[in-house]
Symmetry: C2
Subunit: 424 residues, 2 copies
């Protein structure tokens, strides 16, 4: 019986039972963390051999003839360009190999707009108002960047097919102060949705009023599949190029969740014109990125196929974890109709929607029982979930056993919070 | 006989002889580079064993218990803090271990002032005018950062004891728009001067009108000695603390010229208040720096003493190169009194001053004979050397043999350019 179909007395009786079960967990003093999309130690172990690739006996000269140990080659070494340009779907002249985190690159892209201006446009700090479009729920760190620059954020609802394109088309064509949009097109953070071909085509065909409007295409999970026949995302750069819009998109990728989260390699794909401007600005900001780590990655994977094979090992570790979460939700929450959730085919998250007005309470109940979740509202600009219903579940870090316990607590928290809501 | 004491006919005759010698070099089609302070391959070879320190068998857990392969620990791992806090002369709670280049950190410090505001002060982008003091000759990349933010630069003459403190004290106490000064206090780039104790004390005792005035203390060469009994730089952080001015200084250091130029570790020393603010802002900009590389460095050196021992090996390679440059200048230029130069006891550069109005011509003559120098004027804000006399000589990259050839060309260029100047 759905939780909304129960009588008050039925529900009260159920709640008492749930409280008892919850209190039993509470007395166990658990310390489980599902807060962030962190790879598990087992996943990090997969790349340990990469540490043996370079040694004191190695030749550290890149194919370009540059000594990777010295200054120079700001845009990265060719052997890394070869592999990662295939990963993000651009040609080798349209990629820069950067440092250890793509977040840093995205920050720098926004900073370039703010400080220097993009390709000759007025720097944003001189404008009265700058706005970004934010598909919600989305990635909290994207929104934190906007907030730190004082950029106003506009919520765009996420649909199964991607963000609401009608709304986006209308807004960007009318408002010159809208300078960008954050997108995680494949296995969107946190819903796991993959943008449909139509969505990608409509993005590529946008006619923004602002010449310096940019799509930040954060393709962090482009090869992080959980199924054996993954959905194929349409190539945004090709589509933009067809429309003469190739300067409108910055494509990001990284190995943070492929090799090591703190010591991976980030990449940026963009038009030649954009790359040229960014290289010039980067040349003031940094002398060069870590080319030894780029070489380590390139030698370890050999080619793009090597990278894909490596991802199969991640899939084998992660898939059972997602399955465990989904199984418990199906068993415990579905019969009560006390929430809905996504069933991602890749990426790092499951997005859970409770009955309106329960998310904060669920997170609090979990916390009190030793289960840390991402803060309620985190997936929204300014941390404000208008319906207080969205919770991001990150299943990768805990073991399957820990995850099962954490999800039992989670489901009890959902039940209790829902009952409280309905009864009060 | 000094070049200025020669008669016109004597000088013309000498010039003819120098032209002939110069043309002989020109016909050799040399390709020698003394443009940048780059370590030589021989120096980079010194750190190759560092690549063996971590392997697939290693435990990558830091003393703090954090897995260096995963996210987290934004301010760096404790074992790296231990070594590098000694290097830059602060305690372990006053250091952040950053990425692969201190230039990047310095850029971020200026960016923080510009975008966010320093410790609650108005962000600089909202001010009519922001100025920085620039001891000259100085480091071109410092000046490029200011230029990219539209920060007005004011030249401060460099004396043997450091920058002109009378001028600095007066300016910062009167002008609230002065927000910073660039300092390379030990083996200054390019003069090689070491700031005197009095200079450091006067810096620490500054009473700037602007609350967000910052000394950027770029101690890039703090352990890069060329003598066995190096001059000791007074500890700026201790002196500032005595004056209650501990928030006024950011101290930078890096291993770019200790281990690998592209793959070293940069560090930032600052007051607890500054570190706290910067960590908060860095948390938006970056998820974390490369902790595996931090661990690699910490394990390789073991302790600060290990670092100092390593520097002895650099000294053995670099010292003969500086000596070769100084010997040739002494032999070829001193008798003619056609210029003056510094005799550094550490660092990466020798600063040469020609007769006024000759620097550009000397660099051009060198270039035409296949010897690349740093552009004339590069050591001044906006690339403008008011007297067109300063040239930065970077002796580290070429071999001693190459260096001797390059310096012969350089001395001929000095002689010819001086003669042209006097004769015309």
């Amino acid at each position: 019986m759905g939780i909304n179909d129960m009588s008050k007395s039925e529900l009260s009786a159920m709640k008492k039972q749930w409280d008892d079960e919850y209190n039993k967990f509470k007395s166990q003093k658990l310390a489980l963390n599902m807060a962030r999309g962190k790879p598990s130690p087992e996943q990090l172990d997969l790349s340990m051999d990469m540490l043996d690739v370079l040694s004191s006996k190695s030749d550290l000269v890149s194919e370009s003839g540059d000594d990777c140990r010295n200054y120079g080659l700001l845009d990265g070494i060719p052997e890394a360009k070869k592999i990662f340009s295939e990963m993000i779907g651009v040609s080798e002249e349209n990629i820069m190999i950067c440092g250890n985190a793509s977040l840093n690159v995205m920050y720098d892209l926004v900073a370039t707009g703010f400080i220097n201006g993009i390709n000759g446009n007025t720097p944003w700090h001189k404008l009265e108002k700058v706005k970004f479009l934010c598909p919600v729920p989305g990635y909290d760190r994207h929104f934190a960047i906007c907030e730190s620059f004082g950029i106003e954020m506009i919520n765009i609802p996420m649909l199964e097919s991607g963000p609401d394109m009608d709304m986006i088309e209308k807004l960007v064509s009318e408002d010159e102060s809208i300078k960008g949009i954050w997108c995680v097109p494949q296995y969107s953070n946190p819903t796991g949705h993959v943008y449909s071909d139509e969505t990608v085509r409509r993005f590529a065909a946008l006619k923004p009023k602002a010449d310096d409007f940019r799509i930040i295409w954060d393709n962090a999970y482009c090869i992080h599949h959980l199924t054996d026949s993954p959905k194929k995302l349409l190539n945004i750069f090709d589509e933009c190029t067809k429309q003469g819009n190739q300067d409108m998109v910055y494509i990001l990728g990284s190995t943070s969740k492929i090799t090591f989260s703190g010591a991976g390699v980030a990449v940026l794909g963009a038009s030649k014109k954009n790359i040229d401007q960014l290289t010039k600005i980067m040349g003031v900001r940094i002398i060069g990125y870590d080319k030894i780590n780029q070489l380590r990655h390139a030698k370890y994977f050999g080619d793009y196929n090597g990278l894909l094979k490596h991802m199969e090992k991640h899939k084998a570790i992660i898939r059972p974890k997602f399955q465990a979460v989904l199984d418990i939700l199906e068993k415990e929450i579905a019969p009560l109709a006390a929430g809905s959730w996504t069933k991602p085919e890749g990426g790092y998250f499951i997005s859970f929607d409770s009955i309106s007005g329960c998310a904060k309470r669920i997170v609090q109940l979990c916390k009190e029982a030793g289960v840390t979740l991402t803060g309620a509202g985190a997936a929204f600009p300014y941390g404000i979930d208008p319906e207080d219903k969205n919770i991001r579940i990150a299943p990768t870090y805990p073991t399957v056993e820990e995850l099962k316990t954490a999800m039992e607590v989670f489901c009890l928290a959902v039940k209790i919070a829902s009952a409280e809501k309905i009864l009060n």
